[in-house]
Amino acid sequence: MLEVRNLTIRAGAEPLVKDLSLSLAEGSLTCLIGPSGCGKSSVIKWLAGVLAPELTAQGRATIDGVLARFPHHDIAYQPQQDALFPWLTTVENAALGLEIGGMDRRAARARVTELLPIFGLEEHEDSFPDQLSGGMRQRAAFLRTIVQDTPVLLLDEPFSALDAVTRLRLQDWLLERLAERPRAVLMVTHDLYEATQMADRVLVMTGGPGRIVADIPIPTPIGARSETALAGTRSTLKRMLLKDTS
């Protein structure tokens, strides 16, 4: 689905990420984990077409074999903060991507309204972000991302600002949404538990400069992912991350 080859991101002359290659398959959720500052978010921002202006990137990416430039209409991006506009209601916020994509405003908002019950926001159609709880805000942000119906989703630490209980609930909820409509998902996270619980593959990045040092598949089906079943994988990942940051 999405292939990245030899991506190098520089801050001035200094490489932040060097010769990084990865691929995302349709219907798979790939987690990118690594220490702070290793360039995980920069990789995802490059793919979203929003790399910080002080950074430069060189590399090649294809979507279904066709050379891609970013931002790309097949990719939806969800940043670390929910980035809901405070002056827009839930529906108006969630319909932004569709409207920018060229859909008529009324049709876009009708499409979003149809999906509100699935996202648990049916009673908050006209609420503003400051009237929503942290979990509801994040669900509204997911709605804005998912309603664009793109085959590729980029999620930059989507659960990092949530409390533990809301995070667990939303992780399960997101997996259900993805099961309904399989896509290629790349998710950046710091959380080993989250990565092993949700992903089909975990890519481990190291810093200075950032590169992928391990590609660990998680063959256990989502429904059978108990502490025991994942203990070995988590232990391996923990060792790798600690080794890199020691």
């Binding site: 979203a48 931002p71 980035a83 002056w87 920018i100 503003f128």
Partner: protein, 253 residues
């Protein structure tokens, strides 16, 4: 009720100031030619109301036309500067430097160049009120959180779409701050322009009252000009309140 409670200390201090002034004039017997008592000012306003009202309307007309054009012009310039980094880097230092020129001192030249009509007065109001609005708007545009911009760009939004959907709404608070600052200058600038040369207006009325040694009428006109500025500020506050229910929500995510 809350509003009255909020304004109460200001009313008390104002009443105390006017009381002291009235008492000082009564006790010292200061001549009305030099320092009229507040009661003389109010009395002058009452007696001369028809004349003052006629001049007030002329001042208000110039101020409203000049200020409205200034708002429109400032908005257009701010948008152009926003989209052209080259122009912004070139023009902003010049705009800042232009503020070192005492613009009101240009009033006589305006009359020399453009005569006694509406144009020189309107131009002076624009020159005085334009800068705070441009600065406020450009600062407002720059305050757009990066995450908002990134979200729209990742969706394929054009620069204009980002501006319309996020940059402009984000600048709303700063825009109204600039508008309030400029509004306080608008009436003062009009009166200055009228001082330099006009057939009608509070500026020319003040000049005539001064020449007739009527300090009470000078202060009456000053009182009216202060009320005009307060009225202009109230209108702006009203517009901000009516149009901004959704924008008063948490500033940024």
């Amino acid at each position: 009720m809350t509003r009255i409670k909020h304004l109460f200390p200001a009313f008390v201090l104002l009443a105390a100031f006017l009381g002291l002034w009235e008492g000082y004039v009564a006790l010292t017997g200061a001549p009305a030619l030099v320092l009229p008592a507040p009661s003389d000012v109010v009395n002058g306003l009452r007696v001369e109301w028809d004349d003052i009202a006629r001049h007030t309307l002329a001042t208000l007309g110039v101020a409203v036309v000049g200020f409205s054009l200034s708002v429109a012009f400032a908005f257009i310039v701010s948008v152009v500067l926003h989209f052209s980094g080259w122009l912004r880097r070139g023009l902003m230092p010049l705009l800042v430097a232009s503020q070192t020129v005492p613009i009101v001192a240009l009033a006589p030249l305006m009359v020399l160049w453009f005569g006694f009509g509406l144009l020189p007065k309107v131009l002076l109001v624009i020159l005085v009120t334009f800068f705070p609005m441009v600065v406020s708007l450009t600062a407002g545009y720059a305050s757009l959180p990066r995450a908002f911009r990134d979200q729209l760009v990742s969706m394929g939004a054009t620069r204009w779409s980002v501006f319309r959907r996020a940059t402009l709404p984000s600048a709303r608070t700063q825009f109204f701050s600039g508008l309030r600052i400029s509004a306080t200058y608008a009436i003062v600038a009009t009166i200055f322009a009228e001082y330099a040369g006009a057939r009608r207006g509070l500026g020319i009325y003040i000049l005539a009252a001064k020449n007739n040694f009527r300090a009470d009428l000078v202060l009456s006109a000053v009182l009216v000009s202060a009320c005009l500025t307060l009225a202009l500020l109230s209108v702006i506050a009203g517009i901000e309140r009516i149009t901004g229910r959704r924008y008063r929500r948490g500033a940024h995510a």
